[in-house]
Symmetry: D2
Amino acid sequence: MSKHFVFPVKIFPDDTDCFEIVYHANYLKYFSHARIEWFAALGHGLHDLKAKGIIFPVKHADLEYFQPARLGDELEILTTVTKLGRVSVTFSHKVRLARDLDSIICQGTVKIACVDEQMRPRKVPEFLCQAFT
Amino acid sequence: MSKHFVFPVKIFPDDTDCFEIVYHANYLKYFSHARIEWFAALGHGLHDLKAKGIIFPVKHADLEYFQPARLGDELEILTTVTKLGRVSVTFSHKVRLARDLDSIICQGTVKIACVDEQMRPRKVPEFLCQAFT
Amino acid sequence: MSKHFVFPVKIFPDDTDCFEIVYHANYLKYFSHARIEWFAALGHGLHDLKAKGIIFPVKHADLEYFQPARLGDELEILTTVTKLGRVSVTFSHKVRLARDLDSIICQGTVKIACVDEQMRPRKVPEFLCQAFT
Amino acid sequence: MSKHFVFPVKIFPDDTDCFEIVYHANYLKYFSHARIEWFAALGHGLHDLKAKGIIFPVKHADLEYFQPARLGDELEILTTVTKLGRVSVTFSHKVRLARDLDSIICQGTVKIACVDEQMRPRKVPEFLCQAFT
């Protein structure tokens, strides 16, 4: 099982603002999409997990912005797990240009909790533990 | 009871795109905010209506764009009811610059249905009928 | 040259709202992405067109909503040109579930103008005329 | 001159997702709005600053999420300056329910750089230095 996941993002006008760069809040959205697609690639769609009462709210996020992305840019989000807790998982997300994998647009760390529908902590599902260790 | 409602919108960077104008889809959001705040002004918060199983999905929308709005612009959404059906309501929304009420940025018509939690049609609540007739 | 374009959209949490359905304004965004990717497939990235001073603001949009899309749904946007003017193009967009191509989620018509950087009308570029006729 | 700024935010459906809570990325947007309105209250609209070539890209953001906000909630963003550098400013943003000022929804730290149109560092404008010291 691979220990990282690469997710592509293409920049459309609605990703950008009047400064002609990607609006800074959007990277959190791309990170979230990358995690969700990773889960899906492991066989677990977010809607199936939700139906089973397994929910992953974000508890902490940290983002560093290095250079702006712009209209038409094709980005890659490189995601790894940096900490696997009993009831939380911490991810690292690196954003780079697909045409220059040595570039660095933005880097983020996101900690998600695992909770049930009443927002009570629950054990991280086995499929994630197996995939990430 | 007044038969129209005026809702202010200020344009922030996230409202705009790299063409330095308000992204066209956002006007549907402003229209929705205007309707919700009108309902609230009539004493009915959307969350209270939702808790009672009264939901208003959009069924049809028509927008005409006249001139772009830009960063820092203060807009006014002038909303009226143009048709009050048994299980639907049609609104007209006119967007103009607050500093020039003769301007016209965008104009829209939005038809909302009234449904219950299973998306079955239900009668438009009395508070709306009274306000709009 | 094909006279239609199929664009896939996957529904993430940020596409939805607390009524657990796709927020109605987002379909205008998916329509826009579909047009942009069609242009790109014809060899013309939106950023290249923008750099040449060729801009396509939306002038009119009409949307009819048939049934809601939800978290995890995979949609297809089927796009055709319904009218090719000298300085404008009108598109039809049909949204259906990828798993049921007979379904209909939403249907829209969007008219875009072709303008220069000063928002003055300009002729629709040849590559579009050739592709759409 | 006050050393803090209070900015109200009301939660609409588009702020929330299918988990019926405010989508986590949106808090960065509210923080940005709070800073912009503070600048405006100090006499400097963002569009005026942009026209003068004074731009404030976000360089770093850190968010901690304590409890979710929901449809209809009225929030207050309490903003202070925690560090005033020569070419950057760091803000603290606390999000609480307007109806319970002892609550804590989310807390964030955002560092913005001051740059010119070519993204080169420039001195933080005097009006900010005076307001924040």
